[in-house]
């Protein structure tokens, strides 16, 4: 049984097909780097996997609880840090959501300001709060849409630490990104999307790690022209 399976998924926005028969299988515990240029369909595929959008055609199946980190930080400005995380803990069905929230705030270095409203936080603090929110309930599947984009150094360190912990626990990770080098270091699997089609899907190879441009040159649009 795959942790994530997408079978010939199409998604239309009006007449425009954002995904064109994208298929993907991912084993439990794998970390997939979902690569592709802007508009390739990465966010659309992630949103479908997160059940935020329905495919126009095709089947999707995902196992377990989902943690989602999208383009927005997904926390409420008018709630305090502890209220935000307690809310999402309750939504995830955690037995003691407040304890889990406190532990998560400790982990991301926000315990000292836990009673502060999110709107009063700096950008970096809000990013760490968003990261804590996504990892709070130890999800079985993490769906991260360009997670490293516009993070400050501290938030990047927190995210890398939490990703390593999630991998050690056996969580499955799907991460769309433009930062190929960082992604290749984390990933066990790689998929390349081109105009809504998955043109490569497989294990990360040593060539990809050594030369981040290799995948695009070998399987990308330029390779077929």
């Amino acid at each position: 049984m795959h942790a994530v399976a997408a079978d010939r998924v199409w998604k239309y926005f009006g007449d425009y097909p954002a995904l064109r028969g994208a298929s993907l299988q991912l084993s439990k515990g794998a970390c997939l780097a979902l690569l592709g240029r802007n508009g390739a369909g990465k966010t659309t595929l992630l949103r479908i996997l997160a059940n935020l959008s329905k495919p126009s055609k095709g089947e999707i199946s995902v196992l377990g609880r989902i943690g989602y980190l999208g383009h927005g930080i997904g926390v409420y400005d008018d709630l305090s840090a502890i209220e935000n995380l307690t809310l999402f803990g309750q939504l995830a069905g955690l037995e003691n959501a407040k304890d889990a929230a406190n532990a998560a705030l400790e982990l991301v270095g926000l315990a000292r300001v836990k009673e502060g409203l999110a709107r009063e936080f700096s950008r970096g603090m809000r990013q760490r709060l968003a990261i804590a929110r996504a990892f709070l309930h130890n999800p079985d599947l993490l769906l991260l849409d360009e997670p490293f984009t516009s993070l400050d150094d501290r938030a990047i360190a927190v995210l890398q630490e939490l990703l390593a912990g999630a991998r050690a626990r056996g969580s499955t990770i799907v991460m769309s990104t433009h930062q190929i080098r960082e992604a290749m270091e984390l990933a066990s699997d790689v998929a390349l999307l081109e105009r809504g089609r998955i043109v490569f899907s497989g294990s990360r190879s040593s060539e990809m790690l050594l030369d981040p441009g290799w995948l695009y040159r070998t399987y990308g649009e330029g390779a077929r022209e």
């Binding site: 997160a50 935020l52 329905k54 926390v75 409420y76 209220e83 809310l87 999402f88 995830a92 769906l143």
Partner: protein, 222 residues
């Protein structure tokens, strides 16, 4: 199912807490209701019988318009920071809807409870003796307004002119509910209500609550 209800309670509490802190829709809604009631009392020189005759209609028009201000913010509140995405990925759509509808219901009942004494004062209408049957009518009709309003708040959440679109979509559907609530309220304030008419409100609430819960996933996840 149990987890869904727990999620609905958590979402309702969150909406009430954020509304209490910002008072975005509450202040607007209470001010609107009070201003309309006061302006109408000065605009028309009515005798007591005429006031009683229009009492239910006036009260429910004010409540319906004040309600639109409350429900308009229901899903719009989730737009900053893409909170709606996170909410949909964390809780079943029906639980999100139910939590939001309950929060809107409580807020609108608060608006109604604040404006009812003002209505009694400015129109010289005694509503205290029929308070409990009136409360039942208010509860049923307010649930109807909030359940339809919350559903349309979800429909219009990504529409650019949602403040205009919501009333356009909402009020035609509320016509049977409002007619029933107006007649019952006028009857109660005149002392000649036919309480069996309350069945209309109950049927409306049951139908639209069921429909909204069944359809909300198709509205939110597209």
């Amino acid at each position: 199912m149990k987890r869904g209800f727990a999620a609905a309670v958590a979402i309702a509490r969150k909406d009430l807490r954020t509304e209490w802190r910002t008072r975005e829709s509450l202040n607007a809604s209470i001010s609107f209701a009070l201003v309309i009631l006061v302006l109408f009392s000065f605009a028309f020189d009515l005798d007591r019988d005429e006031k009683l005759a229009i009492s239910g209609g006036l009260l429910w028009l004010v409540y319906a318009f004040a309600g639109a201000l409350i429900v308009n913010r229901s899903f719009a509140r989730e737009l900053p920071n893409d909170c709606l995405d996170v909410l949909i990925s964390a809780a079943p759509a029906w639980a999100i809807f139910l939590g939001k509808a309950v929060a809107c219901f409580l807020l609108l009942v608060l608006v109604e409870m604040v404006s009812l004494p003002v209505f009694g004062l400015f129109y010289n209408i005694r509503w205290v003796s029929s308070f409990f049957p009136l409360l039942l009518v208010i509860a049923l009709a307010t649930w109807g307004i909030t359940v339809v309003g919350t559903a349309f708040s979800a429909v219009t959440v990504n529409v650019r002119l949602r403040e205009l679109m919501l009333p356009v979509l909402l009020y035609p559907l509320l016509i049977p509910l409002l007619i029933g609530a107006m007649e019952l309220t006028t009857g109660l304030l005149n002392g000649n209500a036919v309480m069996s008419d309350i069945r209309l409100l109950i049927v409306f609430d049951v139908i639209y609550t069921s429909l909204a819960i069944m359809l909300i996933e198709f509205i939110l996840v597209i």
